[in-house]
Symmetry: C2
Subunit: 247 residues, 2 copies
């Protein structure tokens, strides 16, 4: 093992690579198939890192409302499951998350992470108010885990279109996980969410080039060989941090 050469391979002075949808899918497939990562494991790592990213960006002490409320909007894909894990960690970090999870998945990670939230006494909303003022008044911020890179836009029909319409009207900050809901991983979309914060998972996707808000990278797990193969040139994570800033 040559320790110093691994560092040189990830030289932070080289250009950060923004993954295409195809590359992102291939990279995750490799992690699952060749590196034996499990979906529960990846979801846990990424959900934790997202909650850390949110805590660093919106610390408890800076929240405007009396209660540290956060609305976490979860979809039926992997992105939504990471949202569920994120909600559980936000509760452990002493926030008061509420989950809105309108289209439940019957996949094993979703079922397990839902039970874990319910058993943490995290409330689940049965519907999202269409009156945005109610959302602005009730929550300090929204975590958008509705639609992810793997969601085909063609399937993004109801209730997702209505939810995105509502979220586009809220005045409180929105933090999107991996890509803003409604965007294609390869490009921005005016029909999607316009978040204040984008939390890229493992590596940024190409659409993030069109994003001008606060941009964080969450999830420190990629083996050096994968980083090299996809020429990611990720920035260094400080010490034991699981998040870092992207520019």
């Amino acid at each position: 093992m040559n320790h110093s050469s691994a560092d040189q391979d990830c030289d932070s002075t080289q250009m950060l690579h923004y993954l295409s949808k195809e590359e992102a899918v291939a990279m995750e497939m490799e992690l699952l198939r060749d590196y034996h990562f499990g979906l529960h494991q990846l979801t846990e790592i990424l959900g934790h890192a997202c909650a850390v990213a949110i805590t660093k960006t919106y610390p408890l002490s800076t929240l405007g409302k009396r209660q540290p409320t956060v609305l976490v909007v979860c979809g039926p894909d992997q992105n939504g499951c990471i949202g569920l894990a994120c909600a559980r960690y936000l509760r452990l970090f002493e926030y008061m998350p509420t989950v809105f999870y309108p289209k439940r998945s019957s996949q094993s990670p979703h079922l397990d992470f839902t039970v874990q939230c319910e058993k943490m006494d995290i409330p689940f909303l049965s519907y999202l108010p269409t009156e945005v003022q109610l959302i602005n008044d009730a929550y300090n911020l929204v975590v958008d885990a509705l639609l992810g890179p793997e969601t085909e836009l063609g399937t993004a029909a109801e209730p997702f279109t209505s939810i995105m319409l509502t979220l586009r009207g809220v005045k409180i900050p929105i933090a999107s996980l991996d890509i803003p809901s409604g965007w294609d991983p390869d490009e921005a979309s005016i029909d999607g969410i316009n978040p204040d914060v984008l939390i890229s998972l493992m590596a940024p996707k190409r659409c993030a080039l069109s994003f001008s808000g606060i941009h964080l990278l969450a999830g420190r797990l990629l083996p050096y060989d994968i980083q090299k193969k996809y020429e990611l040139n990720l920035p260094k994570f400080p010490s034991t941090a699981c998040i870092t800033e992207l520019h």
Copy 2:
């Protein structure tokens, strides 16, 4: 949900509870059965937290040797699997871990976490030198994940007895995961390891009352209801930290 009462239930001025072996087994069973945590998930959380604990206690900049080498000794039980996850995170945190894992388990988490280490180019030793000076010279510290609370002492025959004998002779620091190998969860044992650092996982076990070294708690995951049921009275974890000090 009553947010403030949850905090009061975990009042840090109350006495920390040290779990008996029976309580530790029952608590983990509840996490798996009622809270739908998975073994991969728990192993990932705890392995990560152990690597953070080791990094905080022995930062890269303070290591005596030219290379940041760490020997991680893993057994066939859950403790050993957490050691494998810890080794992977130590590599991500830029240490140079080497794993010694003499009795491999055929259980799914062990197999997956072994592949993840191998794919991170972490070397596996085929035998442990009996000449302790070789260990003292080659490594900065040892992580002891050989025998855990679930290991029956009756089964701790070879190669474990010889490995413990060797490790009792090393001069470099040893950090034990959950309990020092060879100890019973309920009490210390003179036949076991005498670590410099004890990293209790989720909650301290009763034998830790006999331990006088550096004592850390790793793994911030316990639902508030579990903490209350077992009257753990855990200290507060600062901000988003996954470890905290115990006294």
